[in-house]
Amino acid sequence: MSMIKEPLIPTVGVITDVRLDTPDIKTFRVVTPDGKKAFDHRPGQCAMLSIPGVGEAMFSITSSPTNTEYMEFSIKKCGCVTDWLHQAEVGQNITIRGPYGKPFPVDTEFAGKNLLFIAGGVALAPLRSVINYVRHYKDRYGKIDIVYGARSKEDLLQYREIIEEWCKDEGVNVYLTIDREQPEWDGHVGFVPNYVKELGFDTDKTVILCGPPIMIKFTLAGLTELGFSKEQVYTTLELKMKCAIGKCGRCNVGSKYVCKDGPVFRLDELDELPNEY
């Protein structure tokens, strides 16, 4: 039977590695049954992962497009699908389809710019693919600053990679912070928005901001104080999705569908949408 390809029908993916990153976040490595990367993607794009009988959900692809061998997903345990994934072992099959959404404009707007990444908690997951992409093509960008905060040291996602790779990169400055004092932590303590203000960045940067709504709100206020305009700030949204192709209607906010017109938005674009995200 000849029929056009159906976007809703996923392919099988195999979990080849599970890494416990923080007490409630695991990073899963996924390839096709024949060991290849399921599809190419751009930084900031997402994929629909599902466990038949449990559900399907959208996750940002945390590995960089420059990784041609596999994809990684950092997933926080918080609902049916994620709970199930957290008890999955290596070798477990899942289904995968994608890539979905508009990526970060890494080759256009970001090109040649100084980049400032600001993330809180699990929100590093969508930014990690961008960070690793721009690190890979460092000559195409200016200075890279990364401010990342979490509740505690244990809650810092991809801590090893940050310490062993990002921190050692030339031209990359990493600023870590945790919410409360903790033994064996000699870094900064405090919330991300305050830390950003303390660090007092120059406004010659493009900001990529992602985190819980409350963090975004206060960080944005801080950035505005420092002189940043909304046109300089990008973020990525998360809403309930079922089809991921702009048809099922649930991630519709204003005239946009987060799954296909987003998830990456510039803040001034968000201003034109009703506050329903």
């Binding site: 029908i9 038949p52 079922k242 192709i245 048809k247 204003g254 005239s255």
Partner: protein
């Protein structure tokens, strides 16, 4: 243009139904018109329109999408799609014909929805011009001419005959096979004029979309009237499910005990769980959900679709809403053209 006499219509149906399925509006035992597969003895309804919209033909309320076989850690994905069979729907009104165009703008844009596309490809729409519109009709508001109903073949009914005209290649092919007698257009034109006169007298004839359309999001979204309009909304899905253009769906899995079926079914933005996800819900109150439905039809959809509104004025929600709240009341209140 071709014609057949009123008495001949069932012979024509028999010809169409020879080889493919033909659906016509027929009265059920409660006297409501429903699309029914035609067979000898099924009588064409005289009702203005069917209780449910014909969107089911292309976008059924429930359909299985795929099947999974799970064994231990392994998963097998089975494509269970079957090629649609050719079918013909007779008696679709202009408003509903237009609704297919709206659905096309969702399902037939990249990436194509193959389930919908396949049915659309295999379906032939025979429309029927209206002769006795009712007080809840407001298709003219959206620029729809119920006397020129479109579709693959358009049909006009006069007192003694049915007049047929093909609009598409698909329609021409089918019409040619029916071998009807050729005729002039006078009778049809006369009928059209008569109907047009009634249309101008309809109570909702003055309803306009002037206050709506793309670019009006911020202006209309924060209007305080949404609260009073939605005050008594039950949060049921009646309006959504009788609506010919509502197309939101849910995708769910069902474990049959011998495999897992992933199906999709109609969903309603009026339901409290529509946007509920693990970390919260971005539309917590009925006001927000109610507003979403109308904003989508009247602002968001036209913004993305060259000004085409997501409503066709069929009037079903006016007739069916349990609390009689509907798009007309919303348009009059929010649009202020009372």
């Amino acid at each position: 243009m071709f014609k057949c006499s009123v008495n001949e219509i069932y012979n024509v149906f028999a010809k169409i139904a020879d080889g493919k399925k033909l659906y016509v509006p027929a009265d059920n035992k409660d006297g409501n018109a429903v699309y029914t597969e035609w067979a000898e003895g099924v009588e064409l309804s005289n009702a203005l329109n069917t209780a449910k919209s014909p969107k089911d033909f292309f976008f059924p309320q429930f359909e299985n999408l795929m099947e999974f076989k799970v064994e231990g850690k392994s998963i097998e994905v089975n494509d269970i799609r079957e090629a649609s069979e050719d079918f013909v729907v007779f008696g679709v009104r202009a408003c509903d014909v237009k609704s297919f165009e709206i659905l096309d703008r969702v399902f037939l844009v990249e990436p194509f929805d193959s389930y919908y596309a396949s049915r659309r490809e295999h379906g032939v729409i025979i429309s029927m011009a209206c002769t006795r519109p009712t007080e809840t009709c407001f298709c003219t508001t959206f620029g729809i001419d119920c006397t020129n109903p479109g579709g693959d073949i358009a049909v006009w009914k006069t007192e003694d005959a049915y007049y047929w005209q093909a609009n598409t290649e698909k329609g021409e092919k089918l019409l040619a096979a029916l071998e009807l007698e050729g005729c002039g257009e006078d009778a049809v034109n006369e009928q059209k004029e008569k109907t047009a006169k009634v249309m101008s007298k309809l109570p909702l004839a003055g309803l306009t979309t002037d206050s709506f359309g793309g670019g009006k999001t911020m202006e209309l979204f924060n209007r305080p009237e949404w609260k009073t309009l939605s005050e008594s909304c039950l949060g049921c899905g009646t309006c959504t499910f009788v609506c010919p253009t509502c197309q939101c769906y849910d995708v769910k899995d069902y474990n049959t005990g011998n495999g897992i079926l992933r199906f999709r079914c109609w969903d309603s933005c009026m339901y409290s769980d529509f946007t509920k996800m693990a970390h919260g819900n971005n539309r917590l109150s009925q006001v927000e959900r109610f507003r979403q439905r109308f904003m989508h039809k009247l602002v968001y959809f036209p913004e993305n679709n060259e000004g085409i509104f997501g409503c066709v004025g069929c009037g079903r929600c006016l007739a069916k809403c349990p609390i009689s709240m509907n798009i007309v009341k919303v348009m009059k209140t929010i649009g202020g053209n009372d």
